[in-house]
């Protein structure tokens, strides 16, 4: 049994690595097509003598044939040398790295809340199918799911920050604040509330829908009647027998969505000026700061590939019916 499982894991990991390689190739090819002279773009607007530019081109290996350039690119990428941002002239990796925590905090917490609230909503909606509870939960979440997430953010911002003044209008800390420690954390949370609320509302619909339909499928099963016949209370039947079976697709969804965490809030971060990867992407688009976009795309793709792998493995571990052969 163990051996079969080990082989399965290996197969899936290799598959993911292959996909990652595809992404790297795609990245390289795409940006090579667009940007034929990165050096010129990097130093656009600066007065650099032509010979110096030539030296830089040689340094970056741009006079080499494409194949060599690709090898060079792969090597650099693995060393996390992702180039220099056109806009800030700083290394791309440094720019990206400094912004990861903000996005992780925002989208991570939103993902957890939307999963929790959405799943519970879906369980209630399914268990009380076709009652007003079901209809209101289903309609409500469909409504939120159908609007652009950043537009919801705009409305919440105007209503609660501009008009009511309960929350700040953007950023992660009050400008000019010299607070530290707990006070700083509270300030950050205060700033995070509205964008987090926006993301939670926008994405809980997915969980509600999937949980509801999964539970409805399970509710038709005989083993629930058997559980009732054994003398279990309704709530125990639901929680011990129905929900564990219904949660399998939800767990997969959750794991997959974690992969989208890093890229999930591009427009919302822009609306709230939240200094994370999303805002960095929005700013990079304006350039266009191609090295940044390239680096961000690579990071986003890697996260998704990684978490898809986790989701796949988690599902095969949780569901005893999955074959290990």
């Amino acid at each position: 049994m163990k051996r079969g499982r080990g082989r399965l894991v290996l197969r899936k990991v290799l598959g993911s690595l292959l996909t990652l390689v595809f992404v790297l190739v795609f990245n390289f090819v795409l940006f090579r097509i667009v940007e034929t002279d990165p050096v010129a773009s990097l130093f656009r607007g600066r007065n650099i003598p032509a010979e110096r530019l030539e030296e830089l081109r040689a340094e970056f290996g741009l006079d080499q044939p494409l194949g060599t350039q690709f090898v060079f690119y792969m090597r650099e990428t693995f060393q996390l040398n992702l180039g220099i941002s056109y806009q800030s002239r700083q290394p791309v990796w440094d720019e990206i790295r400094s912004r990861i925590p903000a996005t992780l905090a925002l989208v991570g917490s939103s993902a957890v809340f939307s999963a929790l609230i959405g799943t519970i909503g879906g369980v209630i909606a399914a268990w009380r199918r076709n009652t007003w509870k079901d209809h209101s939960i289903t309609s409500g979440t469909m409504l939120f799911y159908s609007m652009p997430d950043f537009w919801l953010g705009m409305i919440l911002l105007v209503a609660f920050a501009v008009v009511l003044g309960w929350f700040p209008v953007g950023g992660i800390v009050d400008l000019g604040s010299t607070a530290g420690g707990l006070e700083l954390l509270l300030d950050q949370l205060h700033h995070m509330f509205l964008p987090a609320l926006t993301l939670t509302l926008a994405y809980l619909g997915e969980y509600t829908l999937v949980t509801r339909s999964s539970l409805l499928d399970v509710m038709g099963e005989d083993y629930l009647t058997v559980a009732r016949a054994k003398g279990l209370r309704d709530v125990m039947v639901r929680n011990r027998h129905a929900v564990p079976n219904a949660l399998l697709p939800v767990v997969t969804l959750l794991a997959i969505n974690f992969g989208f965490i890093l890229s999930g809030a591009i427009a919302v971060e822009a609306v709230f000026s939240w200094p994370g990867l999303g805002k960095a992407t929005a700013d990079a688009i304006r350039g266009p700061d191609l090295p940044m976009l390239q680096g961000l795309f690579l990071l986003f793709s890697s996260a998704v590939i990684f978490f898809n792998l986790i989701a796949d493995l988690a599902y095969s571990w949780l569901d005893p019916r999955v074959e290990t052969a």
Partner: protein
Amino acid sequence: MSLAMQRRRATAARVGKQFRDSRSGMIGLGILAVFVVMALAAPLLADANQLNPVFARNAGNPQWATPGEFGPLGTDHIRRSVWAQFVWGSRVSLFVGLAATVLTILIGSVIGIVSGFFGRRTDAVLMRLTEWFLVIPFLPLAIVLASVLGRSVWNIIFVIGITSWPSTARLVRAQVLTVKQRLFVDRAKSLGAGGPHIVARHILPNVSGLILANATLAVPVSILTETTLAFLGLGDPASASWGKTLEEAFANGAMIRNAWWYFVPAGLGILAVVLAFTLVGRTLEEIANPRLGGDR
């Protein structure tokens, strides 16, 4: 009338009746009808000149006028009528949404049919490709492509189409495989029928119901993607979609001024249209796949 035609007529009638019975489906259809009419009748509903800032200035429009002060929906930072933007914006949003979806469905269906029909090597290769597209985060890919290709309506349509086809391809392929297993394909082959004939006569009619449902559900994704891309600045600068309206509202301080009339209508428009397509699409899905019905 041939037997096949008669059957098709009967199926259409049955589908029509089932659709009319669905309350949510009819509501969705109603909302859609309103917006399609609005888009088509745009010249009658709003003066296109009001979209031109020079005209607006010369006409003496106030800046940032509330709906009470000017027109049905007030004006923006460069004195243009928001109502005009709303009405004319519906055209672009609907057009891009529909066109991108058509492209998505075309690519997805072709790949799905080819993959399912030819099987083996072709199938394996195409499925790998599909998997790859599914794994890549959708929005970043669209952003990257749009940045690289430039900001025009057709590029946006292309970008959305080319990033959304995988789910259609998978669906179509599964259907084709099911149909392939049915007897009459073998019978047709034994009667000497060739590949394209089999595809046209047998596979397509069985798959088309599901494709239609899938297409209708894909339009919301296209519209929302266009909106987001436009908001991020990747939209066509010349055309004014609802997403573009939101981008301009945001970029020019509509929020700080609480100029809600500038950004609320466009968002409501998107919400309504997306909801409508979702309702219609889910109804069609239930009809095409009766197993899903009754629980929704």
